[in-house]
Structures are given as C-alpha cells and as structure tokens.
Symmetry: C2
Subunit: 122 residues, 2 copies
DNA sequence: GTAATATGTGAGCACTTGTTCAAGTGTTGC
DNA sequence: GCAACACTTGAACAAGTGCTCACATATTAC
C-alpha cells in the first residue's frame, strides 16, 4: 500500500498546487549547493577518471605506471589528473623525476564504493 | 605472434614498476563497470538534475509543480526528466493530464545524501 | 654543457550537453 | 467537434568535455 497522500484535485486549484510548491521550495537545496554537489559528482562522471580513482584506491602511483596500467597515453592521464587535482580528488608528491598521486581523502573512496554497490544492486 | 615489447623498462627498477602495474591491473575495475559507474554519477552531475532529485526526495510531483518550484520552464524540466528516466533514476505514473514523478529507488536518495555530507565535511 | 627521462600544458578538433523556441502529443471539458 | 491544459519532443545553438599532437618544463645521468 502506498503512502497516504491524498490525491490532488487539479493543478488549477491554486491552494493545493501552491502549498505543494511552497513546501518543496522550503526543503529544496539552494542553487550554490546544487552546483557544488553536481561538481563533485561530475568529477566521477568519466570512465577514465573512475578507473584512475579505482587504481589509486589501492596505493599511490606515478603517472607513468598509471598510464601503463590503464593502457592510455601519459598525456591523456596527465590531463585527467589535472582535472582531478583541480577538483581536489587527488593529491601528489614529487620524488625526483616522479610524481606520485593518491586519493585526497576517504570521502572519495566512500562515494566510489557506494556507487559500485549501487551498480551491483540492479 | 609478434613480440610485444612493452614500452617501458625504465622507471629505474623495472621489476617494482611492473609488479605495481600488474597488481593494479588485477584490482582495477573493468571498462564496462567504469563506464556504467561514470554513467550513474553523470546523472547527478548537473545542478538542475540535482535540484530535481532534491525536490523529488520529499514526495512525488507533477512536471508543472516541479517547474514552478524550481523556477524553470516546463520544457527544460521535461528534458531533464527524460534524461533521469533513461538513467533509471526516476519513475513516473500518469493520472489524467498529469504525470507524477518519483525517485526510482532508495539508492539514489542515498547517493544524493552521501554527496551532501561530503560537501559539508569540507 | 647535452641527452634522456618523467611529467605538464596549450592548441585544435570531434563530440557531447543543456537550454530555448516552436511544434507535437494526449487528455479534459464544453 | 473544438479549445485549453499538461506534458513531450525536435531542431538549433552556445558551451563544455576529452582526446591527440606538439612543445615546454624539470630532474637525472653523462
């Protein structure tokens, strides 16, 4: 049995319509939050970036090895890493000629895995 | 078969490099999974869609009210709802002239809120 | 110093995305 | 029948994305 929301009359009955709209607006997240939230999800909305996150979720890696593991060009990987850097999803440290990347914090790991679980549930 | 010389034997110690790459590849999610996961996140990567999800997370709404609550044109909302439909994030039922939309399942709600918490933690 | 290695970056291009405008369904009421 | 309403859809366009290519750094080895 469904939730006991009384079936609405019409859209024309202004009070019901307006009440629903007004109540929704009160709980609605604001534009800035929506934009920032969308931005976060966008960081994970590309297969290449998802695979990079997947690789880095095990241990830090340098660009060269990352490119080898993913079977991609260094340039393409570097471009995506730049994006991930700007989105604060990854951190890096330099060691001689190498630059080692890691996930910035555990949150990313969590979101990544929550998404995976979501997939497996379907 | 041709001798596939891997284009790397530098990175100083070749064995560590290869072991790291090979181990990473074993744990790496496959291309299809990465694509599907990216696809899921992409559904949530637009501010308008995030706001629609936010609105629908409280109760089902028809397109007209949704447009009113978000302050957008019906057409723009309808286009995004189409995307959300194709991505299986929302469900709809028709009732006369109205089309009522709801979130498809609780997973979406969870991802949405996990993302929100992630924002608040920064 | 030069050369090789490891990574970064800008330009260019094909492709995708989100919006608006206009026209299209389908349902209701007269 | 017809008109109003609720919603969908197609075309068009600006804006954004991700790749390749070529060049620019920076570090190390010689």
């Amino acid at each position: 049995m469904e939730t006991q929301v009384p079936p609405r009359e019409k859209c024309e009955s202004a009070d019901v319509d307006e009440a629903r709209v007004r109540e929704t607006q009160e709980h609605l997240i604001d534009g800035l939050t929506a934009t920032r939230l969308a931005w976060t999800f966008k960081a994970l909305s590309d297969p290449t970036r998802v695979r990079i996150i997947s690789a880095l979720s095990h241990h830090e890696m340098c660009v060269y090895d990352l490119a080898a593991a993913l079977g991609m060009s260094q340039s393409a990987v570097s471009h995506q890493l730049r994006t991930l850097r700007e989105m604060r999803l990854v951190r890096f440290r330099k060691e001689g000629r190498h630059v080692y990347y890691t996930l910035d914090d555990a949150h990313i790991h969590d979101l990544f895995h929550q998404g995976l679980e979501h997939l497996n549930h379907d």
